[in-house]
């Protein structure tokens, strides 16, 4: 079994905020991440698929085709967007990096299976000092 990872980038605004809570409680829990006019990040997304190399190509997946799929399913929906407002697959969800990574998994798992490959892992960097990982 070999694991192949392709990295993509997107830039997005968001805020951490629980609408059930008072402004004070939001600030207490989320700190400056609760800023009402949003802040933002350069996100870095690692998509890892697994498989065995095809004997005609040496590939477990054609990275160009994988890249186009990530572009269509994720980057076009999320890049230069507001995660709290604009992104179909983030509707009614807190935009913590934990929730974003699960939502991206749900968008990618079936389309990657349809390519004949298998999604193994996602990694999502929010800042140079914070990242999440998810295996489904």
């Amino acid at each position: 079994m070999i694991y192949l990872t392709r990295i993509e980038h997107f830039n997005a605004a968001h805020r951490l905020f629980n609408a059930q809570w008072s402004e004070e409680k939001n600030v207490e829990v989320f700190g400056k991440c609760a800023n009402k006019n949003y802040h933002g990040h350069n996100y870095k997304l690692y998509v890892t698929v697994k498989g065995t190399p095809n004997i005609e190509t040496g590939f477990i997946v054609n990275a160009k085709i994988l890249g186009r799929l990530i572009e269509e399913k994720i980057i076009e929906q999320i890049d230069h967007k507001n995660l709290n407002i604009d992104v179909p697959f983030m509707q009614n969800k807190f935009t913590s990096v934990e929730n974003v990574i699960v939502a991206i998994w749900n968008e990618l798992e079936q389309p990657i299976a349809d390519l004949g490959s298998q999604l193994h892992k996602l990694k999502l960097e929010e800042t140079p000092n914070i990242f999440a990982e998810y295996y489904g």
Copy 2:
């Protein structure tokens, strides 16, 4: 003459938008950067001062004190904020990386002079592939 650089980070939301223009013209010129609900970045700010080493310390500037000054004058104003709305020194300015770097220079030049040092250069990275530099 020796140049000493201290790097700081901030995360902010912004959009590129000219209120004098139609929505169509904004999208034509600014593309997805015009998204009305904002997007955002992890900005990386390089502050370079110049001078000759103090004979009692070997420092051209005490980097801890420089760090505190940048924190107070810039990071507290801009980190986890919306550049188009929340930042006092960006009021009524387009939030291009070129304009942000000039505005930061104007905030830092005098306070650094008051430390007995001299601001030489700023560098501001907006994404891994775009940065601005300014010498006043």
Copy 3:
């Protein structure tokens, strides 16, 4: 299960040295790492916790609180220190990156459990070309 990683930094001096051995044997095994007046590194520490997102916050752990705990339990003890002399949790241990990572695990495991979270993995970079990983 989601994995969240927070990265922290510390700078420390150390030497590799077995007091039971002759100087010659120390140099033979440890090379320039045995230098008697020490050398040092910018260490980069990755702390990974695992869990499922809290439904009120979207967090598996509040990264601010995790950061404060790492600061108190590790960074304050080890940053700008000599690993062979100054660090309580490294007393009487060789200061190889393998031993440092195990000692940090032992300091963090219970306090992270007390937060209601679970330490999953540590990664410790000693140089740009050497790092250790540990899962307890």
Copy 4:
């Protein structure tokens, strides 16, 4: 169990090409990677061994000795070479990153066992955006 990783670098030319296929099919599948006069990369190789620390050294493996072994078995064979022509352990193989990582594993597994250590994982970065991982 502790995991120790040493990173090495090599620069090589290659092309992706299936000699059984027409030029058109090669371009269709491999795109610009099929360029007949080759292109190339700065590869970054992560070699991870696992074990428990030796009580006399604190090491799971002496990283200097591991480095020399990787240098002799891999870097001298592959650095500043053409993967399709010059490298003994790549003869008659497609030079996809998936195939290169498996071939490097086969060269390193036994010699690392002969050091009394155990190869756990390889990671091979081909570009800043593509890497493979292999556990044997």
Copy 5:
């Protein structure tokens, strides 16, 4: 005056070789860089333009348009190519990083002037440890 830099990437094969010299002299001067079947690199190109911000956009240059121009004039000619054989603007030149950067300058200077901007500097990284800079 503000300086704006856009970074682009290309992967290419090359060899260092003086056809006037014996094989021995080539190896003596160029070492493993003279390998007859080529080696290669992931090059990283920094294109810096200078100017004052346009009052309608805040831009000294539209980075999207600059990016398209670099793509057309440089990346399409040089990416996934052999610098010694395939690249029109490198014909009959040694492919040292010094020569490549001057050749890229000559391709970009006029087209950037035609955009109403001014090329200030190029930086070209050949490996993580070697780069060239050129100001025309």
Copy 6:
């Protein structure tokens, strides 16, 4: 005129300390950098030479020969050493990054001139967030 930069690394221990001052004043000015048992860093040294390409090689300097010279004059003296005790060219100097960069310049300027090249600039990174630059 073309500028070529070669990057080298060294790891060293040091402390910031003025022996004329009380312990309290040292801590007040230098903070944790004054720790009496030292701390340390992974330093990254950028050596930039300038010139015009040789018509027989395309080089402004042979980077292999430049690398050997930096190794001999600097790295062998300073790597895995204590800057306050072990390094001949740092005797009786504060080991601030400003002083270290000037001392390295003084060691390299003449030997690089003897190669027929010209030292243009040094850059010395002490941590990921602090670096010095010097032009002689």
